[in-house]
Subunit: 254 residues, 2 copies
DNA sequence: ACCTCTTTTTGGTAATGCCAATTTCCATGT
DNA sequence: ACATGGAAATTGGCATTACCAAAAAGAGGT
């Protein structure tokens, strides 16, 4: 079996992350208590059918997060249990993240409208162009989209606001389910709609806080819509109804 | 040299940590800027005279901490610099934190007004009582105040919203300058004003989102005021003027 | 100039081998 | 019996080699 990569069902990225997540789940499930020793690297490699280097990488990931302590010649020991903070937004659905963005980034846009420098606004204008360009490329990674939103957050001149919003984006990228859903939404809906971004930009240029908030909320409400569209599971249908309620509130605002 | 371990002068532990530290220093020194690509794994292995697996481990350590982003077939790119985010909320002033709370918690209150269960609202009512009691005790630690705000965040039923707001509180408690300033504000102002909390509660009971947002913003605008009042430093005077501007916006809202 | 196909570069993992730190356990001496 | 010392087994630490797949760079044709 040299090179399971061939038969191993084409996994492209970060096998160690999958393993780390699995171990994390086992920890959270109480399979290993604080002070317990994890199985040996060689054993884990067998159990999970991966190579030892991969196991090492996964354990290092846990070690860096302070979850386990590795003692040479002895083993890896559980230091503490994954707290709510450690599973960064593990249970945060794409809906929750986007709803939070709707609320927070709306306010950020409003504040940015009164705080942003001309240079910052022009930078944002450039990013709108970049989004348009990115949209023409079917493989675009929404890199410009992210930059656009973060630039606005930065233009608030409030580090706490920026950090909070940046964190929401980080969670979105981390959360597996979230990533999956966004991918589906992208395939279905495609374009992150340049018009909506342009509207936000126009409000910023006009230094109109209320308009900026409204435009940003409209944009993110559309994103929320696309997420709902990308979902067929019945379980989510309930959330859909609830979100529908909420959305009606959003548009009623402005 | 195969197996530097033999001649390598008894290194027992974590070669990858040494490497990660070295890279961290280079990052901090500005050798690689945000967005830059790190040298290839094979190249770093040569430069530092270690094996590629070790380089991978070090890069994974950086990746887990969010310092770099690894793209398959391309390389490892700098995401952010060490030090800004690693010591959470380093340069976040009490003003910034409170302003962010004003924006975010206002929205949270509005959402909570439509989402909270009756039980949750009664729990919040109990916390208002607790705040009143805490006020009578000069040694009160604003424990109830914190619980009040977090309960509202939780009542949004949105984990992302809750986590973001909880983080702002955590930062407030961590940041030394922030704590100091809040202390001064407390001594000067005394009561965390029960009336304002009561107003928020009333709006929640009425399920009036707009009123809840308004009441919460009024409350936090008052906190912001007390912070400004507690400040005499000239350096802050400028920020004060800027904040004054912002505040006028806040009250103009609602 | 522009698009396309090939080559090179770069990360992803596997597999193997050996060293060093610990631990286990048994033999030995008291 | 008990303690002690040391070999043997266990376990992590790193190095090497090899090959695949994704991405970037370059060559070639249009």
């Amino acid at each position: 079996m040299s090179g399971d990569s061939s038969g191993g069902a084409g996994r492209q990225d970060r096998l160690y992350q999958d393993l780390a997540r699995s171990l994390l789940h086992e920890l959270a499930a109480g399979k290993y208590l604080v002070g317990d020793r994890l199985p040996a690297e060689r054993e884990l490699a067998l159990q999970f059918n991966v190579s030892r280097p991969t196991v090492r990488e996964a354990i290092i990931a846990l070690e860096v997060q302070g979850l386990v302590e590795v003692r040479v010649g002895s083993g890896a020991y559980v230091r503490r249990h994954p707290g709510k903070d450690d599973l960064p937004g593990f249970n945060l659905s794409a809906f929750e993240l986007t709803e939070a963005r709707l609320l927070f980034e709306g306010e950020a846009a409003a504040l940015a409208a009164t705080q942003a420098s001309d240079e910052e606004i022009e930078e944002i204008a450039g990013l709108v162009q970049a989004i348009a360009a990115e949209n023409r490329d079917p493989k675009g990674k929404e890199q410009a989209d992210r930059a656009f939103h973060l630039a606005i957050a930065r233009a608030t001149r409030n580090g706490a606001v920026y950090e909070a919003i940046e964190r929401l984006w980080a969670l979105r990228e981390t959360s597996p389910e979230s990533a999956l859903l966004h991918e589906k939404a992208r395939l279905a809906n495609i374009k992150p709609v340049v018009d909506e971004h342009t509207a936000v930009l126009a409000a910023l240029r006009a230094r109109d806080a209320a308009a900026a908030r409204s435009a940003m909320r409209t944009h993110l409400a559309a994103v929320l819509d696309s997420l709902l569209f990308a979902t067929e599971e019945r379980a989510i249908a309930e959330a859909r109804a609830a979100a529908q309620q909420k959305r009606s509130r959003y548009s009623a605002e402005s």
